[in-house]
C-alpha cells in the first residue's frame, strides 16, 4: 500500500506557528477540560500530561469517567463547546499548539495528521450512506479528488484492512457488515489520509475476543509500517500488555501513573494501578473471591480535596486527604502521583 500520499499545501502543518520538524510528535501539557452542567462544573480532565513519539504506542487506561475519552476528543478538537471548555494547558503537534489555531485550521489537521477510531462502529458510521461514500468524503474534502478517484482509493483502503470483495462491498451500507468488518472500515477511514497520530478509543470493546485480537493485530501492523504514533484508550489491561510501549493510568481526570508497560505491570507505583492489576481474574488461581476496588469513582462535579483516590485507597493516610499529590518522577522513566509511591512499588 503506497504511503506517499501527497498532502496538499492547505493541509500542511509546516507553515503553522511553532512548527519544528524535530519536535515530539504529540505533547499534551497540563490539559484541563471542564464541563458546565446543571449540577455544577465537572472537571473532566484535571491537568494531564502526555507524550507521544513516532512509532510509539501509549495506552491510556482508566475507568469510565476517568477523562480518557475527553482527553482524546480534546486532542482531536471535537469537544462540544459548550458545554465543554478547554480551561488550560497546551496540545502540541510537532511543536504547534493546536489550541491556538482557528477552527478551520484545526479541522484541516483532523484526519490528515491526527485521526481517531471510535468504539462502536455501528453507531459511529452513518447508516444511510454507503461505506464507499463515507470513505470517499475524506478524499474529496481534504484532497480535492474526483468522485471516481476517491472511490478507487476507497476500494484500495478496504483492501488494505483486509475486507474481502472490496470492490463490491464499497457500495454496501454499514449495517450489512459484521462487527469486526465494520471496525475495519472505521480503521480504514482513520488511516485514509495517512495521519501520523492515531487515537483509538476503545476500538475493540464492542467486539468478541477473537475478533479483538485480529483488529489489534491489524492496527499494530499498520502502525509499524507507517511509523505512526498511536494512543490506545482502553480499560482492557490484557490488550495493553500486548501492544503498548507505555502506559498512562488515569483517575478522576488526572494521570496518576506513567511509565513503560513492562515496569508498570511488574511493579506498579500507584495504589490504583496496583488494585487494577490485582482485579484481573487469573486462570491459575481458583476458588477465591475476585478482587474488587471498593467504592466508586468521585462525581466530577464534586472531587474531594487531596488525592481523589484516597477514599478507596488501602495506603491512604491523613496527608492524602489534604495534599493533592502531583505526578512526580519516582525512578528512571517512571512517574506516579502518590505520596507513597515508593512503598507501593516495593510492596509485593
Amino acid at each position: 500500500m503506497s504511503i506517499d500520499l501527497d498532502r496538499s499545501d492547505d493541509n500542511a502543518v509546516a507553515g503553522l506557528p511553532g512548527y519544528r520538524d524535530d519536535a515530539a510528535l504529540l505533547e499534551v501539557d497540563d490539559l484541563r477540560v471542564e464541563f458546565h452542567t446543571r449540577d455544577g462544573i465537572a472537571r473532566a480532565v484535571n491537568g494531564v500530561d502526555l507524550r507521544l513519539t513516532d512509532g510509539q504506542t501509549v495506552a491510556v487506561v482508566g475507568e469510565s469517567g476517568s477523562g480518557k475519552s475527553v482527553t482524546a476528543q480534546a486532542i482531536m478538537g471535537i469537544l462540544e463547546e459548550p458545554p465543554a471548555r478547554v480551561a488550560g494547558g497546551e496540545i502540541r503537534y510537532r511543536g504547534v499548539n493546536l489550541l491556538t489555531l482557528s477552527a478551520d485550521q484545526r479541522r484541516r489537521i483532523r484526519a490528515n495528521h491526527i485521526a481517531m477510531v471510535f468504539q462502536d462502529a455501528l453507531s459511529a458510521l452513518n447508516p444511510v450512506w454507503t461505506v464507499g461514500f463515507q470513505l470517499s468524503e475524506l478524499f474529496r474534502t481534504h484532497r480535492g479528488m474526483s468522485r471516481k478517484d476517491a472511490k478507487r482509493r476507497s476500494i484500495e483502503l478496504l483492501d488494505m484492512v483486509r475486507i474481502p470483495a472490496a470492490a463490491q462491498r464499497v457500495n454496501e451500507y454499514p449495517h450489512q457488515f459484521s462487527g469486526g468488518m465494520r471496525q475495519r472500515v472505521m480503521i480504514a477511514m482513520a488511516l485514509a489520509l495517512d495521519p501520523k497520530v492515531l487515537i483509538a478509543d476503545e476500538p475493540t470493546t464492542a467486539l468478541d475476543v477473537t475478533v479483538q485480537a485480529q483488529i489489534m493485530r491489524l492496527l499494530a501492523e499498520i502502525q509499524q509500517e507507517r511509523h505512526m504514533g498511536m494512543i490506545l484508550i482502553t480499560h482492557d489491561l490484557g490488550v495493553v500488555a500486548d501492544v503498548a510501549d507505555d502506559i498512562t493510568v488515569m483517575y478522576a481526570g488526572r494521570a496518576v501513573e506513567q511509565a513503560g508497560v513492562i515496569d508498570t505491570f511488574a511493579t506498579p507505583a500507584h495504589p490504583y494501578t496496583k488494585a487494577l492489576l490485582r482485579s484481573i481474574p487469573r486462570l491459575d488461581v481458583k476458588g477465591q473471591q475476585l478482587e474488587v476496588i471498593a467504592g466508586l469513582p468521585p462525581t466530577l462535579t464534586d472531587i474531594p480535596p487531596g488525592c481523589a483516590f484516597a477514599p478507596r485507597c488501602t495506603y491512604a493516610q491523613d496527608i492524602c486527604r489534604t495534599d493533592t499529590p502531583t505526578l512526580r518522577t519516582v525512578s528512571d522513566g517512571r512517574a506516579a502521583a502518590c505520596h507513597f509511591a515508593k512503598e507501593v512499588m516495593t510492596d509485593v
Partner: protein
C-alpha cells in the same frame, strides 16, 4: 428493495379493497336504517309504487337487500365498484352528476394542498431544524410556543377569526385603500375568487397548513436534536469535514427521514381540515362540496368524496412508505 415494494403494494391493494367495502357497508347501513332516500325525493307529495320504484332504480337504491338492517349487500357492492372504476359516482339528489361536480372541484383543492404542503415543508421543517440548532435560545422557545399555539387553538376557530379579521376587516381596508384588484385586496378576501384562484387561496392554504404543522415542526426538532448528538456526527467531525457538510449531509439527512412519515399524518389531518377550510371560506373545492353535501344530507356525494379522498390518501401514504425505504437503507433489507 424489490420485495419490500411488492409487499407494500399488495398490502395497499388489500387495504384499499377493505376500505371501499367498509364505505359501501356504511352507506348501505345508513339507507337501511334511515329509510330509502328515494322517498325523500318526493318530499311530502303522495307517491305511487311505480314512481317510487322508478326513482329508486334511478338512484340505484332498488336492491331488496336494503330492507334488512346489516345486510352487506354484496351485489350492490360489486355494482358500485364497477361504477366507481369507470368513474361513475352516481347522481346527487338535485340530479347533477357527482363525477362532474367533483371533477370541477378538484383544482381549488389541489391548489390549497399545494400551499399547505409548502407551509409544512418550508415553515414547519425549517423552524423545527433551526430550533434544534439554536436549542435553548429565544428562537427555540418561540417555535415551541408556536406549535403549542397551533395545537391549542382549534383550527376552525382560527379560520373563522382570520376570515373575519383578515378577510373582511383587513380586506375591506385594503380594497378601499388600494383598490379592488390590488395585490393586498385580493389576498385578504373572505372567500374564493375564481379570477385569482391562487392568490385568494393563499391565506386559507396557509391556515390549512396549521392542520398538522405542529407535529412536523416538533418531530423535525426532536429528530435533529437526537442526531446532533449522534455518534456518526462525531465521526464526521473527526474526519475533518467542513461544518456545513456535517450538518447537511449527515445530521440533516438523517433527521428528515422520520419527518417524511409525519407528512403523511399531516395530510390526514388536512384532508379533514379541508372540509372545514373550504366550508368556511366558501371555496368550491372538494371540501366545499362535502361541506354543503353534509348540510343537504346528500349521502351519495359525501361518500364519493370520502372515498376519493381516502384513496388519494392511501396513495400518498404508499408513496411516502416507498420514499422512506429509498431514504433509509436499513428498511430495504428487512
Amino acid at each position: 428493495m424489490g420485495r419490500y415494494v411488492i409487499r407494500r403494494l399488495l398490502q395497499a391493494v388489500l387495504t384499499l379493497f377493505f376500505v371501499l367495502f367498509l364505505l359501501h357497508y356504511l352507506l348501505s347501513l345508513a339507507i337501511q336504517v334511515n329509510g330509502n332516500p328515494a322517498r325523500t325525493f318526493f318530499g311530502d307529495k303522495p307517491v305511487t309504487a311505480e314512481q317510487l320504484a322508478a326513482v329508486e332504480a334511478k338512484f340505484g337504491t332498488d336492491d331488496p337487500c336494503l330492507d334488512t338492517i346489516g345486510d352487506p349487500c354484496l351485489g350492490m357492492f360489486g355494482k358500485r365498484m364497477g361504477d366507481w372504476l369507470t368513474l361513475d359516482f352516481g347522481t346527487t339528489f338535485h340530479g347533477y352528476s357527482v363525477t362532474e361536480q367533483i371533477a370541477q372541484a378538484v383544482p381549488p383543492t389541489l391548489i390549497l394542498f399545494a400551499i399547505s404542503t409548502a407551509v409544512w415543508v418550508l415553515i414547519g421543517i425549517t423552524a423545527g431544524v433551526l430550533a434544534a440548532m439554536k436549542r435553548g435560545r429565544f428562537f427555540d422557545y418561540l417555535v415551541r410556543t408556536g406549535t403549542t399555539f397551533t395545537v391549542a387553538v382549534p383550527t376552525f376557530l382560527l379560520l373563522v377569526i382570520t376570515q373575519q379579521l383578515v378577510g373582511v376587516s383587513l380586506g375591506n381596508w385594503a380594497r378601499s385603500t388600494f383598490g379592488r384588484d390590488s395585490f393586498l385586496g385580493i389576498i385578504f378576501q373572505p372567500s374564493y375568487d375564481h379570477d385569482h384562484p391562487f392568490l385568494s387561496l393563499l391565506v386559507p392554504g396557509i391556515l390549512l397548513g396549521a392542520f398538522g404543522i405542529a407535529g412536523i415542526t416538533r418531530l423535525s426538532r426532536t429528530s435533529m436534536l437526537e442526531n446532533l448528538r449522534a455518534d456518526f456526527v462525531r465521526t464526521a467531525k473527526a474526519k475533518g469535514l467542513r461544518p456545513r457538510r456535517v450538518t447537511v449531509v449527515h445530521t440533516l439527512r438523517n433527521s428528515l427521514i422520520p419527518v417524511i412519515t409525519l407528512i403523511g399524518f399531516a395530510m390526514a389531518d388536512a384532508l379533514g381540515g379541508t372540509v372545514i377550510t373550504e366550508g368556511i371560506y366558501s371555496i368550491p373545492g372538494m371540501g366545499g362540496l362535502a361541506f354543503s353535501a353534509t348540510r343537504d344530507n346528500d349521502l351519495t356525494m359525501v361518500i364519493a368524496i370520502v372515498a376519493i379522498l381516502s384513496v388519494s390518501f392511501m396513495l400518498v401514504t404508499l408513496i411516502i412508505d416507498l420514499l422512506y425505504a429509498v431514504l433509509d437503507p436499513r428498511i430495504r433489507y428487512e
